[in-house]
């Protein structure tokens, strides 16, 4: 009879320990490396010296530029959040609480928006409104005769593009708030003599405030951590933020990388993100007081728009157009051999030559193969690990379960650029560096938190006795997990899988920081082509990537929606 810890009833502690070690290696390993590197003297690499110094932090504290960095980051994040949240709230209200036609189409469109890489949005907007040859500026010149007022290289453009790119996330979260609100709370206001305005002001808004605040902070964190748009738009506009600074220090255009200072900046960003995350948890905790989610099912009250439905539809259509416009521009560009403004003349030169030429290149073919391996392996591996982690942390007791819970969730506070940097430092001298495997490791680490959360919340909703019944029947924990639990939560699991897959495909942060000649993926090739610049080539690859992602995401989304609707 083996000796077992009494607290691990029904679950093999060996499997738990192995999982804990894997997660710890994924999460803690790179972070330790980051700390070590931040304490390095200048011009040295980790493992080369045992010297510790605070000089990097001294540099940060004395550098007046740091204040500018922090200020830029704050203005950028706040602006994007306010802009994105206002649009998302109005849109969510229209879709969830009114009778506006075409609500379902908008919901589906916004859900599938995750298939669009922010890098590609950046490319599209640069083509649209760059000061010299942007299409919208050219249009203005033709119509008004003066130079167009729009410029991509400015803070407001950066905020505008980021705001639009965070709208779908905010929409999904705020839509949930609207959907879960018991209409009886509002009805009670009307019954007791309130009019439309007083009910909105005194009941609806106060009930939504904690939720909106927590969504706001969540999006704020995401924007502070974001790297791709500040890289593509902000660098040329000379708007440095924390995330781009970290990148430039570790991969400078000229000179040697200053890993120590870069890691120190990474720690600074990490601290900012962790503080924000703590604030988020406080607000979410406070929101529990206002929980208006009740067990019973209800149909939220729908406002009849009446004569306002036409303006609402026009406004929504304009927004959707704004979101699609950059993609259309890229599509147009990809059909030309050399970039030019849309015109009847140019239309005659439209062809598929760019695609043919780009796809014929060996580097591109390799990148496509790498991308396929990266996205499928990282999404599948992440979901498998997350399933076991979520299962153990939900059902297990004792410190192993608790550590798993905390460890798997903590990467949510680690900005991807910091994680990428830390992974780079850890694996720089190993054979893994320069392989696709290191990209997979990186994506597993940064997406584990989301995947585990998705599955944990699905598990919480499962009655505990469903699993107990399997174990009493004589099934091992593995059989229970694979035969009972996963079949019951597969829609959520599939949803998480698509999410990780789409994000892994669109991510530029990890592949760019860990880029070598041998592990190029589509996003890094796109970025290199854009830098050359080979605009049509980059546009063609962008189009291919978006099209491929849509082909995977849309049918699966429809399948999941159908399945979960039938279950209800």
């Amino acid at each position: 009879m083996p000796r077992r810890r009494a607290s691990d009833a029904g679950q093999p502690w060996i499997a738990q320990t192995v999982v804990l070690l894997i997660v710890a290696a994924l999460v803690i390993g790179p972070l330790l490396m980051l700390f070590r590197t931040a304490l390095l003297p200048e011009n040295s690499l980790p493992f080369e010296t045992w010297e510790f110094t605070l000089s990097n932090f001294a540099t940060i504290v004395t550098d007046p530029q740091v204040l500018v960095l922090l200020f830029n980051t704050a203005v950028y994040a706040l602006g994007s959040v306010v802009f994105g949240l206002v649009i998302a709230t109005v849109l969510a209200w229209l879709v969830e609480r009114t009778d506006m036609p075409g609500r379902t189409a908008i919901r589906v469109a916004l859900f599938t928006w995750m298939a669009v890489p922010p890098v590609i949005l950046g490319f599209g907007w640069i083509l649209l409104i760059n000061p010299g040859s942007g299409i919208l500026n050219a249009l203005w010149r033709t119509l008004a005769g003066t130079d167009g007022p729009l410029t991509i290289y400015s803070m407001w453009a950066l905020i505008f593009i980021t705001g639009i790119s965070v709208t779908p996330t905010a929409f999904v979260m705020i839509g949930g708030l609207f959907r879960n609100m018991d209409p009886q709370l509002e009805n009670a206001g009307y019954v007791h003599g309130g009019n439309w305005l007083s009910v909105a002001r005194r009941i609806t808004l106060p009930l939504l405030t904690p939720g909106l605040l927590s969504v706001g902070i969540y999006v704020f964190i995401a924007v502070v951590q974001t790297f791709e748009l500040p890289l593509i738009v902000g660098l040329t506009a000379r708007i440095p933020v924390l995330s781009t600074r970290i990148y430039l220090l570790s991969s400078p255009d000229v000179g040697v990388p200053n890993y120590g200072l870069s890691a120190a900046f990474g720690l600074l960003l990490l601290v900012v993100a962790v503080l924000l995350m703590l604030l988020y948890f406080r607000v979410v905790g406070a929101g529990e007081k206002y929980r208006v989610v009740s067990g019973k099912s209800f149909r939220p009250r729908q406002t009849e728009l009446g004569r306002w439905s036409i303006p609402a539809m026009i406004g929504t259509a304009l927004l959707v157009l704004l979101m699609i416009l950059p993609l259309l521009v890229l599509l147009w560009t990809s059909f030309l051999r050399f970039y030019e403004l849309p015109s009847l003349d140019a239309l005659s030169r439209v062809s598929l030559d760019t695609y043919r030429e780009v796809l014929a290149r060996g580097a591109v073919q390799g990148a496509i193969l790498n991308t396929v391996i990266l996205v499928f392996v990282s999404s599948t591996a992440t979901m498998c690990l997350a399933a076991v982690v979520a299962w153990f942390s939900q059902r297990g007791r004792g410190w192993i379960a608790r550590s798993l819970d905390v460890l798997s969730f903590s990467p949510i506070a680690i900005p991807p650029i910091v994680m990428a940097m830390a992974i780079l430092l850890l694996y720089l001298r190993t054979p893994l560096y320069g392989s696709v495997a290191i990209l997979i490791l990186g994506h597993m680490t940064i997406y584990l938190a989301f995947a585990t959360r998705t599955l944990s919340s699905a598990l919480v909703q499962l009655h505990k006795e469903l699993a107990d019944a399997a174990m009493v029947s004589g099934a091992s924990w593995w059989t229970t997990l694979t035969r009972v639990i996963i079949p019951l939560i597969w829609p959520q699991a599939l949803n998480g899988w698509i999410w990780v897959l789409a994000h892994s495909a669109r991510d530029l942060t990890i592949p760019l920081l860990l880029m070598t000649n041998s592990n190029m993926v589509m996003s890094t090739v796109m970025w290199t082509l854009w830098d050359v610049p080979d605009l049509p080539g980059a546009a063609a690859l962008s189009t291919l990537l978006v099209a491929a992602l849509l082909c995977i995401v849309v049918p699966l989304q429809i399948l999941i929606t159908r399945k979960s609707e039938r279950a209800m």
């Binding site: 009833a9 006795e465 107990d468 029947s473 099934a475 035969r483």
Partner: protein
């Protein structure tokens, strides 16, 4: 068959609170083939006990033996995982897996359990189990398309299909409506008895426990208060808690004045507010100590003639202060020297409120239990 020794479960203090003692040294033995009920109010530890037997909960201390195999022993750090204890269990929520058909649900223990059976045998045994619970026609139905009573029977079929050593039932009838509960109570007992499977059964409903079990263990505050056959617990409660939880009773505080030896048995004289009451039931209360006298409302028989006194019976007289006619019975309140007593009479006994009445209560219907701390 099932031996539990000194079982303890303590939940660690959380957030500055006191540690919770769910089980405080529970001992009990269940004989092979017995239908054993754990009866108690919510929070008495009965579910913790069942979960510990199943291995879904790990006790803090003690031993559990199923058959000849020790499945838990805190001293020797023995813990046999749930899946290897060869159990069958019906859960309170039934825990029917909604993604499987009825057949697949029932087949699970044979397909994925300890002793995997060949396909043909699985089919045969599943169909046999389904016939036993009268659900053979529903084999290919998906689980969510079943009513509550059908789900309960599927859960039962799944729990018996692999002929477990021990069958555990966690409040199996509490989710059914009253009428269905009455029929299921008998069906369940007959089925389990005909298979001869030892069964441990948790309930908070005394009617279920009394009607189904061979042996009942009454739990209170994490300890077993009394174990015995239903009749024994009803007629010979050992504590005021057992008396009040199983059936209703009149509880009269008082003091034992003397213990006499009369006709081969002890006779306790017990002084109460309504006068002296004699009891011939064996009791732990010694002469001179405080105690409680338990008298069931059904123990009273009306005495028509005010002069006659019966042998070996207490005579209690008073004013009938309230009466309600319930059809099957008449409930009345008898006030004796300002102390109200609850009595239950036959519907055909004519009694009027305000009238003086005399009742006789045989000595062996009065039970003296220790006063509560």
């Amino acid at each position: 068959m099932l031996v539990i020794e000194n079982l303890e479960k303590t939940y660690a203090a959380r957030g500055g609170g006191q540690p919770v003692h769910a089980l405080r040294g529970v001992n009990c033995t269940v004989k092979q083939g017995d239908f054993f009920a754990l009866l108690g109010p919510s929070g008495c530890g009965k579910t913790t006990m069942l979960q510990s037997i199943a291995g879904l909960e790990t006790p803090t201390g003690g031993k559990i033996r199923i058959g000849d195999k020790t499945v838990f022993n805190s001293d020797k750090s023995i813990y046999v995982p749930t899946s290897q204890r060869m159990l069958g269990m019906v859960f309170q929520s039934y825990a029917i897996w909604p993604h499987m058909t009825v057949f697949d649900n029932v087949a699970f223990p044979l397909v994925h359990g300890r002793h995997k059976a060949p396909r043909e045998e699985v089919r045969k045994r599943v169909m046999l189990a389904l016939e036993r619970v009268k659900l053979a026609d529903f084999a290919q139905r998906l689980a969510p398309h079943l009513s509550g009573g059908q789900q309960q029977r599927v859960a039962l079929a799944r729990a018996i299909v692999h002929e477990p050593r021990l069958l555990l039932l966690d409040e199996p009838l509490s989710n059914l409506d009253a009428r269905l509960r009455d029929t299921m109570r008998e069906d369940l007992r007959n089925l389990v008895k005909s298979l001869g499977i030892t069964t441990v059964f948790v309930t908070h409903d005394q009617v279920e426990a009394m009607g189904m079990a061979d042996q009942v263990a009454v739990l209170h505050g994490g300890s077993i208060v009394q174990i015995g056959a239903p009749e024994e617990i009803y007629f010979r409660p050992r504590t005021a808690f057992a008396a009040n939880f199983v059936g209703r009773s009149n509880t009269l505080p008082g003091r034992v004045t003397s213990v006499e030896r009369v006709g081969g048995q002890n006779l306790l004289r017990f002084q109460t507010a309504i006068g002296e009451i004699c009891s011939s039931v064996a009791s732990d209360v010694e002469a001179g100590s405080e105690g409680l006298c338990i008298i069931r409302p059904q123990a009273f028989s009306p005495v028509p003639d005010r002069t006659a006194t019966e042998e070996c019976a207490n005579a209690i007289g008073g004013v009938l202060s309230a009466r309600s006619f319930l059809g099957d019975t008449v409930e009345a309140q008898l006030t004796v020297r300002d102390t109200p007593l609850r009595i239950v009479l036959n519907s055909y006994d004519t009694v009027m409120t305000g009238s003086e009445m005399r009742f006789s209560v045989p000595f062996d219907r009065c039970v003296i239990v220790p006063a509560e701390r």
